[in-house]
Subunit: 206 residues, 2 copies
DNA sequence: ATCAAGGCGTGATAATTATCATAACGAGAC
DNA sequence: GTCTCGTTATGATAATTATCACGCCTTGAT
């Protein structure tokens, strides 16, 4: 019994871009992963601001934090692109995990990998400044998410700001500066990385 | 078979304050938790700086990130106080987890709780500025680690800086400012929180 | 069509933080 | 002992980032 086969007999749900999949405070009843699309995991912080924790791609678990240890979600999930999730009853998953060690360690490994990734990315972002952070997230979208030099940004400038921990104005300004320096091109919502090496250097040099 | 009983027949090691328990890059052969003392988990970032990921208390796992998913540690662990660790052979733990679902979910739950804690603390720190961050970490030491208003700081100012992502000078300056405002007292390495409410207000107001 | 709201973009200014310099002090090496 | 070296400490200055203010454009509601 693996995730794939379990999923086949479980419930799929579709979400339009912008729809909320999980609301902070919801009780955790299902174990969910993303089948297609792109979502953001985020948290409401004091003063009605939001902090984006990470983005999740197809086959990533959406049930990460708090699952198996809390009763209620301490983060929200919203679709950035039209998305399909696959959910299984959490109690069934827990029972299965208790009965089947291999299944349990499989899940464990996958969740750990995801949370490790979050922590390591936080550290990467933290050691950079504005320019380095913007370069880092552009490279992230280009290399990890879209695997292309030209892509349509699935997030607003505000959401970038919420991920890297800066203000919207500075995100916008920095993108403009990168454009003025000929490192990227901006066509409305799509971004083209023109000078990949220079962007990488900026990301490395903080 | 639970962690406690498994530990009883496994190897304990003692470390003096300052000794390194795990070195980034070491291959992961054991599953380790802290029996007594206090340690820091940290990572070397570019430019021989270090970033502290978290602190671990007795009964916390020291094997967190990368374990079960990587072959080598991507972080280091060093004792901040004299510490004793308890280690089990990782392959044995994996085998046991594969055979025993309850054991596996138990570990899973504990690791998840720890990594969740790290992520949530990162978010808390991230949304604050210098003063708020210093207040937050002082409250953390006071409430979580020592459960006292007066305690001996187990970390240097530099290490505080490495945790909250600021410079040493600003950490020192901010502690001085809090002292001048009568919120804390500093006797060499020990700190007394005089005005807990004010410190909490500073932590909340960022 | 018109209005309101929100995202994008830019400039001026203020606040925050980093960097550089310097000094006192204690611990460990020799 | 004495000499480093690292930590704590403080000030002056520079760099970075946030805040405020404004205008443009698009989208959705009425």
């Amino acid at each position: 019994m693996d995730i794939e086969s379990m999923c086949s007999r479980k419930s799929e749900k579709s979400y339009k871009k912008g729809e909320t999949i999980i609301q902070e405070g919801d009780s955790i009843k299902e174990f969910t992963y993303l089948k297609s699309g792109l979502v953001k995991l985020y948290r409401k912080s004091s003063g009605d601001r939001e902090q984006i924790i990470c983005f999740a791609l197809p086959l990533d678990f959406v049930s990460l934090l708090s699952i198996f240890s809390e009763e209620k979600y301490n983060y929200s999930v919203t679709a950035l692109l039209d998305s399909v999730t696959c959910s299984m009853d959490l109690n069934e998953v827990k029972m299965l995990a208790n009965q089947n060690g291999r299944f349990a360690t499989g899940i464990m490994q996958k969740i750990n990998r995801a949370t490790d990734r979050i922590i390591l990315d936080f550290l990467e972002v933290k050691q950079r400044r504005l320019f380095g952070r913007i370069a880092y997230i552009l490279l992230y979208f280009s290399k990890v998410i879209f695997k292309q030099q030209t892509f349509e940004l699935p997030v607003s400038r505000k959401e970038i700001a919420e991920y890297i921990g800066m203000t919207v104005e500075n995100v916008i300004r920095t993108l403009s500066d990168l454009r003025k320096d000929g490192i990227i091109k901006i066509y409305g919502p799509t971004i083209e990385i023109v000078d990949m090496e220079r962007l990488e250097r900026i990301s490395d040099l903080s």
